[in-house]
Symmetry: C2
Subunit: 119 residues, 2 copies
Amino acid sequence: MIPGTGSGAATTPVNIDRVFAALADPTRRAIVERLCESPASVSELARPLAMTLAAVMQHVQQLQASGLVVSEKRGRVRTCRIEPRALTAAERWLDERRSRWERRFDRLGEILDEEGAGV
Amino acid sequence: MIPGTGSGAATTPVNIDRVFAALADPTRRAIVERLCESPASVSELARPLAMTLAAVMQHVQQLQASGLVVSEKRGRVRTCRIEPRALTAAERWLDERRSRWERRFDRLGEILDEEGAGV
DNA sequence: GGTATACTAAAGCCAACGCTTAAGTAACAT
DNA sequence: ATGTTACTTAAGCGTTGGCTTTAGTATACC
């Protein structure tokens, strides 16, 4: 069992630093978009990309290190798929910031209303 | 008027690459969290951080380049605040991926159901 | 005017990135 | 057995990132 993950899944724990870093690169975002449609081999991921297979491999490795992608090798082909938990973790961070900001924005509105009403 | 922004706001256009890159750094995420509470000067942002003011300035510059933060200088103090549109842009990208993934996941469920029913 | 404050600009340093080429290894196909 | 496919590993190379120090400039205060 992996400690600290909650579920017993044998996936790389989600690392928010690495998740955002992974998503900062357009090639890796393209890979994530592709994998949201269906799992794919490294070669399939590489096909539409203007770079060597080795480069794509390195991107996949970073995606795995972030927890965004998991892969499994059968025979000579490695099949990759996205791990939506990592996507959700990033989304949650953003959502928390936004809700904080909105709360403050609402308070600000109330203050302005009170002042406008002559307090 | 800035072309291509839709609204006429004089803010840096949101750059999704730079937004994710900005959020990949824990110091910059801390700054964003701080600015979600209220606007702050560069010195105020620097106070809890274990680095020089110059370093914090550079982080603020990157946050501005990403569109996550805007700032304005009055006298000798530069006041920074978050620009929630950039936060929303990142959230939207993630949300679109997730919805794609869920759609595919639902289709997969249907296929398995059909097979289980003896198709 | 003199001094502290708040930023700004520039240079340098080391580590991490994004890519390449080259040289593997393992699984299939014939 | 030989060849092709699909990855894998390692080295190298130019760029960018995250800091620092140093040396400014522009307020604000006394």
